[in-house]
Structure formats: C-alpha cells, structure tokens
C-alpha cells in the first residue's frame, strides 16, 4: 500500500519528466492553470504515466472528475491501494 508521501514523490518525478523541469513543487491544490504548458496533451501524458507507473487504469468518468493534483493523488491511492 502506497503512502501519500510515496505517491507525491512518484508524482513529482512524473511531473518533472513530463514538463522537463525540476522546480515544480506539487501540492494538493495545484491545477493545470498554474503550470505553464499543462494542456490537454500533457494531461493525457500525466495520466498514462500514472497508469504505467502503478499498473492501474482510469475510466472516462474518473478522468473527467479530476480538478487538481490532490484529486489525482487520491485516485491513485484508491486504485493502487
């Protein structure tokens, strides 16, 4: 079972790889608007990287409900747990 800290650690690495920047600091409230370049394609990259990392799959409704990094971390926690 992955702890919240572990999930945020792994998510941070994914974000750094996806955006090619090491200065992004994740918080639960962070949204796409606050990160330069976070468009719908990057969103798909992030989701698929999570699916690959934890061997999970999100469905369309779940993806549509994502609003911020906190939502993503919670959902990873539920599925990977």
């Amino acid at each position: 079972m992955a702890t919240e800290a572990e999930i945020y650690g792994a998510l941070t690495e994914i974000f750094h790889d996806v955006f090619m920047r090491d200065d992004i600091v994740l918080s639960a409230e962070l949204t796409a608007k606050q990160v330069q370049g976070w468009d719908s394609f990057k969103q798909i990259e992030i989701i698929m990287a999570c699916e690959e990392k934890w061997g999970i799959k999100f469905n369309t409704r779940e993806l549509d409900a994502l609003r911020c990094v906190g939502d993503l971390a919670t959902m990873v926690g539920k599925k990977a747990g």
Binding site: D17, M20, D22, S40, F41, I44, M48, T60, L63
Partner: protein, 628 residues
Amino acid sequence: MTELHWLPTIPDWRQRLRALPTDRDTAWDNAVALANARLNFVLTNALDETIRQVLPTGPETTATKKVRLAVLGSSTLTHLLPGIRAAGLRRGIWIDTYENDYGQYLQELSEPDSPLHEFKPTAILIALDAYHLTAGITSGLDAESAEAALTEIQDRIKEVWRLARDAFRCPIIQQAALPVHLPVLGNNEHRLPGSRAWFVTRLNQAIRAMAEAEGVDILAVDDRAARDGIGKWHDSALWHRSKQEVSPTVGPLYGDLVGRWLAAKQGRSFKCLVLDLDNTVWGGVIGDDGLEGIALGQGSPLGEAYTAFQEYARELSRRGVILAVCSKNDEANAVEPFEKHPDMVLKRGDIASFVANWQNKADNIRAIAQELNIGLDSLVFIDDNPFERNLVRQELPMVAVPEVSDDPTGYPVALADAGYFEGLSVTDEDRERTSQYQGNKARDALKAAVTDLPSYLRGLEMQLVWKRFDKIGLQRIVQLINKSNQFNLTTRRYTDEDVIAVMADPDAFGLQLRLLDRFGDNGIIAIIIGRLRENKDLYVDTWLMSCRVLGRQVEPTTLNLIAQEAAKLGARRVVGEYIPTKKNGMVKDHYAKLGFTVMETDEAGGNRNILDLAAFTPAETFIHVVEG
C-alpha cells in the same frame, strides 16, 4: 510487448539529459547515446524536447542524410512525432517533421501554396486512421456495395500517393489500417460483407498489393498490433477524448518502426549478426561440458530453445544477413559443435567470420569488421553475458548490442523486435552474401599461395560485367550510394527518385559494375554517374566502389569504361573531383594515380582533375570487360 525492451536502461539517464553540453557535435553524440536507452513515452518526449532546444537546426555534420518527414493523416498525430524524431536520433539521423492541419491532408497535398509544400518533405508517412478509412461501411451493406466501397477507398489512397509523388518525388510509406473495430458477427466475421473489422483486413491486403505496384512502402502497424494486442496499441477512451488512434504509450515503438524505415532507405540497416557461442548459441560451456554436455536440440526444452534461436539466425542469413562468431574459447573447441554436433542448425559454412580466442571481445569485433570489410556500425552483437555486452557497448558504441536475459527463447524476439536488419526488398546479392564472403576467404588463400601480385590477379580470372542503371538494380544502387563512405569520391547521397532521373537523362549515364572471378560473384561493386556539361566536359558526379575489391585493378578498368561512355556522349574531356569527408581520405589522390592532370586543389583538401580523351590510352588490366 510494446516497450523498447532490446535497449539497455541507463542508470543516470536523467542527469545526463539535463547536463547535455552546448557544443553542437558533442551534444548530438551524447543525445544519440541517450536515445539508445530503453525509454518510455515520457522520457522519449523529454529527450526530443531537450535536443531540439539545444540544437534547433540539428548537428552541423552527420554521416547520415537529414530527413524532412511529412506525417499526413486524418486524426491526431502530434503525440507520435517525438517518438519518430527520437528514433532518428537513435540512428544518428536528424529528422524534421511536419503534420498537416487537422483533417486537411488532401487539401494540403493539392494546394501548391500550402504549408506542406513550403515544408518540402523528403519523405512522407501517410497515417490514415481506421475510422476514417471505414467511413460509410456498415453491416447493412450487401456484398456488391461493400466491394464498391473497397474499390473506392483504394482509389482514394492511390490518389493520395499520386499527389504526394507528383509534388515531392520522395519516398512514401503508408501506415496499414489498425484493426480497431469490434466484430459484430463473430468467428465468421468474414461472412458479413459490410463488417468494418473484415473491411479493414481486406483493405490491408489490398493496400499491400497496391503498394507493390506503386513503389510505396508499408508501415505494418497491423502486424505489430496482432503481436502486441490491439489493446496495447489503441485505447477507445483516448480516441473519444483526443482522437489519438495510436496510444501515446506506444509512441516510442511506433516512432522506431518509422525510424528503421528511414534508416533502411538510407542503406543504414545493420548487416551482420555476431554471435557469442557458450550459453548463447548452445546451453553450457563447450570447453567444460564437452560435445555431449551442452544443451542443444531435441530432448530438453532448453536445448530446443537454443535450436530455435539458431534457426532464426539461419533464416536471417538466408535473406542476406551475414553471420559471424565472437567467442572466448580455444578455436578447436568452438568449432567442434559446428562440425560434429548432430543438432547444430548452423554449420561452419554459415559463418562468414569465425573468431574464437581469449582476447577481449571489442578487439575481436573490430577484427571481424575488418575481415568482412564492413563498418562497425553495421554489426549487431548478441551475448548472454552482461559483462561482455557492457564492455562492447562502452568500447564500440556504434555496435548494436541487444539487451537479453539468460533465457534463449527471448533472443529471436529481441533481434526481431529491434528491427536491426530492416529490409525493403531482397536482392539476389543478399541471398548469396554468405557465399560471397566465403569466396573472399578462398581468394585470400590463393593470395597467400602465390608470391607475385600479377600472377595472383591473372589467376583470379576476373570479369567486370557492366550495365547502365536499371530498375532491377535500383535497390542495390541506392543502397551503395547511401552506404559507401570510404571509396567514394564525392559522397553524394541519392534517393530512388534521383537514380531514376539519371536513367531518364540523355546527357548522363549511370553505370553499375559487377565483378566475377573464379571464386564467385562479388555482386555489384561499383557505381558511376557521369554528367555531360554544356562545354562538352564529362563530369564524374559519383564514383564509388566497395573496398572488398581494392587492389584488383578495378579502378583503371572502370576508367576505361568511363572514357568509352563519355566519348559516346560526345565528351572531349573527363573531369573528376574529390570532395573530402572524414572517411574518404583513401581516395584523395585517386584521379592523379589514374593519370589525370590536377587542375586545382582547395583548402579543405579537395581537388579537381582533368583527363583529355583525345590523348587517353585505355589501361591494360587482367580484367575482362563484358557488357551485361
């Protein structure tokens, strides 16, 4: 498996990417190394983005030809472009890409002032999604209407090819349709004429037949999806969300399929498979376990797996891949199974270069390349031992070394999935190659037996069979033009289309030269392109030769031919130029040696030379010249 599983993981990959130097050539070399790692789609995108920031216009010089690839399609393809460019990088090829505005591929092809025309592609990938290709197809159709729809879509694809070819005269590759549709009848889907799933199957057969007739190549994503599972390739949720037919996670593999095509088009596929022996070709250690102790052949699952790997290697060899052996063994031990073990599929005669000793493998691989007279960058080395793999990767980064486990069932898969030996067609030379290399050894033996060169050359009973360029020879001509580096006076690279243009030009000639001798057929060994200028000078645009036939008087014999063909065009003089590159220093004084007068030399080390045909006497050689 859709991962690039044959590539090794590089532990400090991220740090090395962030630390790419600013010097262009060093940055390029480092990025090529980073591209040869097992990357997922996120890291592939990161690499692509970084190298394009550091080198917006690519490296200053490459041994390869830069490519401008237009990717034309009917749905979202943007996410596939980084994988394609990274696959080029993996092979040292700089690729610029262009993607048409969403859905606008036909318009952009047709309109001469479109951004596509401005891009001036040198290669075109047509990637039409299966939804687009099956528009209007429904299970309500009767057989006749389904047939008409199939003909119509074929005609439309053919029209796209025609537009692309007329506008750009460059190689075209057509992506096969992905089998994304679900069956509606079931096992016997083929009985439903209007089934979309069955339509895609039929369309893919039809496209292949059409492509053969039209000289178009196929990107066989349907075959790949059949191996990997369509679920790995296509995610219908993503299709609904973003119109991405090919899943982004498959991007690196998709890109690699395109990259190996582009490399093959430049004649840069790998040519030779170098095999380790103990625990690679058979199970166990021949020096310790002996002939009876090694695992090979019927009777054990492990033995059968090694046999299966040998069979795959033999299949490769029969279609033109050269096999070599590089083993740490006493030679007598290493050869013994090839000669005595009843279950050996590979025989001693299948191996063109056999090196078994106790020296380090990097040195031995260099010796193999030298013996076979091919570049190190055309060798693939397979070894179960991680130490040897890493040593060779470190010492010889240009040699491909697939990452394999100690399970031999994975060896053929690694070789096949990596696409090292991607071929576009099979020439007769390919099928005869191993025997050609065997012939070389017999020649060397004769050379050792006779003491003076003239009697050796006379004893070879050489025949030079020459022909103008023709369609049959096209593949091999283009391959040689793009692969020859050392004996190549001008190193001009040409495509199929360029070579066809030479055939059609009344003021030019293209010659293909084949050398035969008492040990066999060496195949096409030299290519000449001559162009008549308005002042009646015949300019030798291209003169290249395989280094295998150096020192056999082929050069003066070729000049006799050039003079003869130049005179036929009405030329008064022959002009020969040497354009220096990093690799062609051996032919710097080529023309002077042949009796040309040096007219000028330049600072870069190049020279231009003239031969007056009125004063030219053909050289006498031991080669009998025949028009073929």
